[in-house]
Structures are given as C-alpha cells and as structure tokens.
Amino acid sequence: MTKNKEKTFSIIGSHKTKSVVEHTAQIIFTICAFFAVLAVISITIYMFVNGTPALAKVGITDILFHSVWKPTAATPEFGILFVILTSVIGTFLAILLGVPIALMTAIFLAEVAPKRLAGIVKPAVELLAGIPSVIYGLLGILILNPVMYKLETAIFKGSETHQFTGGANLISAVIVLAIMILPTVINISESAIKAVPGHLKSASLALGASHIQTIFKVILPAAKSGIVTAIVLGVGRAIGEAMAISLVSGSSVNFPLPFNSVRFLTTAIVSEMGYASDTHRQVLFTIGLVLFVFIMLINISLNTILKKGNVEHE
C-alpha cells in the first residue's frame, strides 16, 4: 500500500501534485499554530464581554471597593473587596510559607544531595505535582481543619465576637496552597540553579568560600531570574487554585484574618455559579474577570522577566 503512495512523493512524482500537497500541509500546520492565539483572544473577549455588564449595572465602586456580599438579599449587595483582599493576602502568605521550603529543597536537589538521595526526592516532588487538587482539598478538610479547630477553640475561648468556623479558615487554605506551589517552585528553581555556569562555583570555592557561602552568595544571585520566574509561576498557581481550597477555606465572605472563614476569587465562583442567576451570575463573571486580569498581569510580568534574563545572559 505504501509503495504506490510513496511514488507520488518521490522524484518522479509530478511537480504539480507535490506542490499542492506541500502547500496544504503548510497551511494546515499554520492553522494549528494559530489555534493558541485564537483561544487566548476569544477567552479574553469572552471574559470581558461577560464580566463588564455587572460593573455597569451595579457600579464599579459598589462592586470592587465595597465589602458587603449579599447577592440573594431583597436589596442585593455585591461588594467583592474582601474576596479580592483574601486572594491577594492568601496568595502572599502561601508564597511566604512555600517559597523558602521550595527554594531550600531546590538547593538540596541541585547542590547538596548525594546523587542517590536526589534520585528519591526528585520523583517525589514530581508526584506531588501530579496529585489532583481535589485530593489536597479532601486531606485539608480531614487533617488540617480539625487541628485548626482545636487551635481556634484554645485561642478564642470565651470570646464573644469571634465566629467559630470549625477550623475552615484562612490558615488552612494558605497551608494547602503553600503545599500545592511547592513542586512548581522547586522544579523551576532547581533547573535555574543547575544552569549556573560551573566556573562561577569553582572560582568561589577556589577563593576559599565554603560550599554554603558559595551557594548563597554566588549561585543563588546568578540564578536570580530563574528563581523569580519560579516564584511568579507559583503566585499564578496559588491565585488560580479553586477546588483544593473551596471547602477548606470555609467559604463565607470575611476580612482575611487568620482564623476567619474566608472566600477567595476562585472559590466564590465555584461555590455560587451552580445556582446564581441574573445580576448575581454577572457579578460572578466579574470576579472571574478580576482573576483573569490578575493572571494576565502575572503573565506579562513573567514575560518581561524572561526577556530581561535572556538579555543578561547574552
């Protein structure tokens, strides 16, 4: 079967059929390549088209800078200020908690660990990345929340103003997020550390610096742009995570204090999209739009960092 077919493509095949086939192939590949562009453009358009009507209807300040969220009340209020703040503060805390551990692990993998030990830790990290986010959520509910509840009852004993949450609070969500960004940050900073030219390390060691001094004073500064990339990607992952924290965080709109039950941008969408209608639904899309804008800002800054990094290397 293939013999006959191949003949048309061989030297004795006519020029005409060949050029038609060649042209079609090129056009098909080009279309495939523009699919990603098309997808990003249509996602952007759809997010703006669906996210802006509520801003006009309810008023930009009433949504973005107002903190009362009562979407189903008789006179509904759609303030998402606390939701935005929760996402920002929650992500920041998760980064604060997760990045040092991730960075140290990356150093361990790239510099400190004996080869065999690294051969155990690295696959473990990769597996962590593959675990579905709902499983993190499930474990968060059953392991973290009870611990948090004990802490909560101990700290707020006799308090009359505190609303007890059963342990589903900001801290639980932050811990889950911090664990979830570990693999991303570890993998990217590890390759950044490994990409540092060997002569820098040799020079530093030859001058009498200890291995640790070399790592922290020479290698890490040299791998700076890669590490920043890793952190930015970690921010993106943390701010966009929905299912893992939707039940762990307690999901009621509050100011993001450690022991408050809180709602993130993502969890607001997940928990209410199922039954929302009319303006409520449109506001949920506005929340989606806010999240989308955050992600786009992160992507653009990532792109600039990468470009800058490339220039530095040249």
Binding site: F29, A36, V112, A113, H211, E241
Partner: protein
C-alpha cells in the same frame, strides 16, 4: 577542606545545612503522608461493587463505574482533538516559521494558555461551548474546554522533541529529494514520537486530575451510557469525571466514598508518572550507546 590548613567551622553553615535537609525532608514526608493517608483510608472502601456499579438510591449503594467511563470519554475525545492541533502547531513553530513577530506571538499565547487557571477555562467553556455553541452541560463541552487547556502541554513537548532531532536528518532527507512534508512525515515525526507520546501522557494526567474546568462544563452525571447508539449519544449528555464525583462526595461529607475515589485517582496518577519515567529513560537520546 576549603582552606589549606584547617577547616573553619561556621555555625551559620551548619544551620543552613539543617534547613536545607529539613526542607527536603518536608517535601518527601508530605508525599509519603498524603499517599499513605489516602491509601489507608481509601482501601477499605474499594470493592468490586464500588468499581463496577453506578450509585443507586433504591439499593442505597454507591459506585463509580459511570464516573470511570466518563473520565475515559473525556480523555479520549480531548486527546483526539488536542493531539493533531498541538503536534501541528509544534511542527509549524519548529519547521516552517521564520523567527520573528509571528512566532513570538504564538509562543507568548501558548505560555499564557498554560498559565490561565482552570477555573477561567471552566467559565469560558461554560459560556462559549455550553451556551454560544449550544452543547450545554455535556462531555463534549468538557472535552473542548480541556482541549484548550492541554494544548500547550502537547505543543511544548513536541517542540522539545523536534529540537532534539539532529539537523543532519533534515538535510539528509531534503538532499535526497524528499519534499518537506514527506520529510516531516517519515523522518521527523517518527523520530520525535517519544516526546509526543510523553506530552500525550502528561496531558492524560492533567485531564484525569482536572476538576475546576469540568464542574461547569461536563456537569456531574454519573450514569453509564446505554448500549448501541447510546454510546455516541453519551457525548452530548452530562458526565462527571472521578474528580468531580470526589468533590461532590466531599461537599456532602461522604468521606469514605471520597477516599475510595481519591485512592483510584492516586493509582492512576502513579501509573501515569511511572509510564512517563519509563518512556523518557527508554527513548532518551543521551542514554543510547
């Protein structure tokens, strides 16, 4: 060691070593803890009925057969659409495109796509494929949504694989009179196959673990497709994957069932992970003698 005469002991050095080892230990313990906990709590819930039936309110039993089938449907349909597009896009970027604005834009959008959180894909899929295209809550809507999501994964892996194909293969084939498409079809794609397959398997892992993008697109149906034409009709019906069912069990506080599903998911993820490891060591060019 570092100085010629005597090694100076630095307290800060030891402290940092301790921190480094402790962090690595945390990463390992997390994994062992998670896998172990899920295994211990989940194994008791897994039995034949759990794996082969659908939930029945009359008999009061629970099973995930419908969800397993839905997951398979979504994986297969998504890959059928995403693989040709992803591979095609990589071939264009690597073989046809000349470096310039166009390539920069395509590569930037591919980056952006891989950075968009799945909940946004879910919203987009819901309004675009669900409402605008009229597929509603269906397996097809879910598969289309996930196609966009896994596209960068397949594109990037194929691109990496194409980059490792030696330039001499290309010039050899072209020099012998092969046309470009013929060269791509018979030389490049077969040589890049391991990379493409790795990309596909990673995509399977992503699809199996995905939940936020599917909640509002594929819905939460749990029934098995009916025999005959029902097999094809199913793609227009709502179908929740394993992760969705896990989430629903979780919100209803049915933790036993949730752990059962979690264990099934973990086994699949572990399997996929080992498969990619095996493939990448087997086909790694640098390992060849």
């Amino acid at each position: 060691m570092n100085s010629i005469t005597k090694k100076k002991t630095r307290v800060s050095d030891y402290l940092l070593y301790v921190l480094i080892y402790a962090s690595a230990a945390i990463s390992i313990l997390l994994l062992v803890g998670i896998v172990g906990y899920v295994f211990v709590r989940g194994i008791g819930n897994i039995n034949w009925q759990f794996l082969t039936t659908v939930p029945s309110t009359i008999k009061g039993t629970f099973g995930i057969a419908g969800n397993i089938v839905n997951t398979l449907y979504i994986v297969i349909i998504t890959l059928l659409i995403a693989t040709p597009i992803g591979v095609g896009s990589a071939v264009y970027l690597n073989e046809y495109a000349k470096p310039g604005k166009v390539v920069t834009i395509i590569e930037f959008t591919t980056e952006v796509l891989s950075g968009i959180p799945s909940i946004i894909f879910g919203l987009f899929g819901m309004v675009f494929f669900g409402t605008t295209c009229g597929f509603g809550y269906s397996i097809l809507t879910g598969a289309f949504t996930l196609t966009i999501m896994v596209l960068p994964l397949i594109t990037r892996n194929t691109q990496e694989a194409l980059k490792t194909v030696p330039e001499t293969y290309r010039s050899g084939a072209l020099g012998m009179g092969a046309t470009k498409w013929y060269m791509i079809r018979t030389i490049l794609l077969p040589s890049a196959m391991p990379g493409i397959i790795t990309g596909i398997i990673l995509a399977v892992g992503r699809i199996v673990g995905e939940s936020a993008a599917l909640l509002f697109t594929a819905g939460s149906g749990y029934l098995l497709p009916k025999a005959g034409a029902g097999i094809f009709k199913k793609i227009l019906e709502s179908g929740g994957t394993l992760t969705i069912q896990l989430y629903l069990c979780m919100s209803k506080a049915q933790y036993g069932e949730a752990f059962g599903i979690a264990l099934v998911l973990l086994v699949i993820v572990l399997g996929i992970n080992m498969l990619t490891k095996y493939l990448s060591t087997k086909f790694d060019v640098s390992n060849r003698p």
